[in-house]
C-alpha cells in the first residue's frame, strides 16, 4: 500500500515526498494513471501557475484519473493542488479547474504584501475536522501564495487565516482535504497533519 504523489511538473515536490517519508509512508511519485488507481490515497501538491497546472494535468491524462479516484480514497490537495479542486481561477485569465467544489480562485486583496509568505495562525472553524485532529486553534502554519479560494459553500471550510481578510486555510468534505498552507514546510505541526492524513488512509 502506498500514497500516490502526483508529479505533473509543478514545483517543489521533493519536500512533500520527504515529509511523507519522514511520517513513515510509502510514497510513489508518479504521473502514471495505473499507479494512481492502485494507490491507497492521493496527494496533489503544486506551486506555480494555475493555467500551467491545469494544462499539465490535462496533457498527462490525469484529469480523468483524478475524477475516477477522488471519492474512492482519501485525497489531499496542497496549495495550488487545493485551488485546482475549484471551478475556475482568475489568475491571468479565467481558467477552468477540476470543479470538484463550487467556487473560484482570486488574487489576495487588501493592503497587504503579496505573496502572503510566512507563518500565520489558523482559525479552526470545523470543530470535528478529521484532518485537523489534535491541532490547537491559532497554531501557525507556513503559507506561500498570491491567490486564494472563495468557495460557494462555506461548509467545506475547516479553517481560515487572517491576512487582510479571512483567507481559507483548509477545506474538508468527506474524504477530500485541502490545505492552502504547506504542511511539509510547517515543521512538527505540519508533520502532525501529514500523520493525520496517513491515519485516514488506514495507516500506511
Amino acid at each position: 500500500m502506498y500514497i500516490a504523489l502526483i508529479n505533473y511538473g509543478m514545483g517543489n515536490i521533493k519536500s512533500v515526498e520527504n515529509s511523507f517519508i519522514k511520517a513513515g509512508a510509502e510514497v510513489r511519485v508518479t504521473s502514471d494513471p495505473m499507479v494512481i488507481n492502485r494507490s491507497a490515497a492521493i496527494v496533489l501538491p503544486g506551486v506555480g501557475g494555475f493555467i500551467d497546472a491545469y494544462i499539465n494535468l490535462e496533457r498527462k491524462g490525469l484529469l480523468k484519473t483524478i475524477y475516477k479516484n477522488i471519492n474512492k480514497k482519501p485525497f489531499l490537495g496542497i496549495c495550488l493542488g487545493m485551488q485546482l479542486l475549484f471551478e475556475y481561477s482568475l489568475e491571468v485569465r479565467k481558467q477552468r479547474g477540476l470543479g470538484i467544489f463550487k467556487g473560484s480562485v482570486h488574487k489576495i486583496s487588501g493592503k497587504v504584501k503579496i505573496p502572503h509568505m510566512g507563518w500565520n495562525q489558523i482559525n479552526i472553524i470545523k470543530k470535528n475536522s478529521k484532518i485537523l485532529k489534535g491541532i490547537k486553534n491559532s497554531e501557525n502554519f507556513y503559507f506561500v501564495h498570491s491567490y486564494h479560494v472563495i468557495p460557494s459553500d462555506y461548509d467545506i471550510v475547516s479553517s481560515t487565516t487572517d491576512y487582510g481578510t479571512d483567507i481559507v486555510a483548509s477545506i474538508e468534505k468527506d474524504d477530500i482535504y485541502g490545505f492552502q498552507f504547506h504542511p511539509e514546510k510547517s515543521s512538527l505541526i505540519g508533520q502532525r497533519l501529514i500523520r493525520n492524513f496517513l491515519e485516514l488512509t488506514g495507516g500506511i
Binding site: N12, S15, M117, G118, N120, Q121, Y163
Partner: protein
C-alpha cells in the same frame, strides 16, 4: 496575523559551516544540514544558507546541500551563493529548496531575475543586496561579497528588483555587519518603505533588542541572525519570547 520571521543564517564553505559551532551537542556541528535541523527543532522560521565556496565546485556542493537539507529540515530554506543561471536555480529548487538568493548575478543580469520569477514564481526569488553608506548621502550597492562598488543607490535597486519580479529582499548593511551594534535601522526603513515585498534585515545583530528595533522601527518582515544563536548567547525561543513580550507577533 502573519508573524515576523527569525532566520538563522549559515555560511557554508565546501559543504561545511564556516566557523564550527561548538556549544551545540550535535554529532557533527560542522554539517550545515545537522545544524539547520537543530534550528528547525529550536523553532527557527526559516533557514538561509549562504555558500561562499570560491571555486567551480560551488554548483555541485550547493545542489548537494539543497538535496540533503530536504530530507531533514521541514521549514522553508533558501540557498544563495554563486547562482548564475536558470539551470542552477532549477536544479536547486528541484532538490527541495524553497527559495534561491541571488546577489551579483541579479545586479549584472536583470533578465535572470525576470526569467526566474516568470518560470518559478516570485515567491522563490530572493534578491540579496549588500549596501554601504556613502558620503554622497545614499547607500551604495556592492557586489562580489562586498568587494566591488557599483555607484548604484541600494533603495533604487531594491525597487527595480521588485519590478523585475523579486519576491523578497535580503538586505545586508555592510556598515553594521560584524559590529554587533544593531541592524541599520535607516537603511532597512528606507528600503522597506520603498518596496511592497518582504524585507529581511541582515547585519549587526548583537542582542535581542536589536531584533525588536529593526522590526518595530524599520518595518522589517524578518531578521537574519547569525552569531547570537551560533555562539549560544540566546536560543531562538528566548528571542521569540522577548519579541512577543515586546508586542511583536511571532510563532512560538
Amino acid at each position: 496575523m502573519i508573524t515576523k520571521r527569525i532566520i538563522p543564517c549559515l555560511d557554508v564553505n565546501r559543504g561545511r559551516v564556516v566557523k564550527g559551532i561548538g556549544f551545540i551537542n550535535l554529532r557533527d556541528a560542522g554539517d550545515p544540514v545537522e545544524l539547520a535541523a537543530f534550528y528547525d527543532r529550536e523553532g527557527a522560521d526559516e533557514i538561509v544558507f549562504l555558500d561562499i565556496t570560491a571555486s567551480h565546485e560551488n554548483r555541485k556542493t550547493v545542489v548537494e546541500l539543497a538535496s540533503r537539507t530536504s530530507e531533514k529540515v521541514f521549514i522553508p530554506y533558501t540557498i544563495g551563493g554563486g547562482i548564475k543561471s536558470i539551470d542552477d536555480i532549477r536544479e536547486i529548487l528541484k532538490k527541495g529548496a524553497d527559495k534561491i538568493s541571488i546577489n551579483t548575478s541579479a545586479f549584472n543580469d536583470h533578465s535572470l531575475v525576470e526569467n526566474a520569477a516568470e518560470i518559478f514564481g516570485s515567491q522563490c526569488i530572493v534578491v540579496a543586496i549588500d549596501a554601504k553608506y556613502c558620503r554622497k548621502d545614499y547607500w551604495e550597492v556592492f557586489l562580489n561579497g562586498g568587494r566591488t562598488p557599483t555607484g548604484k543607490d541600494a533603495v533604487e535597486w531594491a525597487v527595480e528588483a521588485e519590478k523585475l519580479g523579486a519576491g523578497e529582499i535580503l538586505l545586508t548593511s555592510m556598515d553594521k555587519d560584524g559590529t554587533k551594534e544593531g541592524y541599520d535601522i535607516e537603511l532597512t526603513g528606507a528600503v522597506s518603505s520603498a518596496v511592497n515585498i518582504p524585507v529581511i534585515a541582515s547585519g549587526g545583530a548583537g542582542k535581542l533588542s536589536h531584533l525588536r528595533d529593526v522590526i518595530k522601527y524599520a518595518g522589517a518582515d524578518a531578521v537574519l541572525v547569525a552569531s547570537i544563536f551560533h555562539y549560544g548567547q540566546h536560543t531562538i525561543r528566548e528571542a521569540k519570547e522577548y519579541l512577543r513580550a515586546e508586542g511583536i507577533n511571532v510563532r512560538l
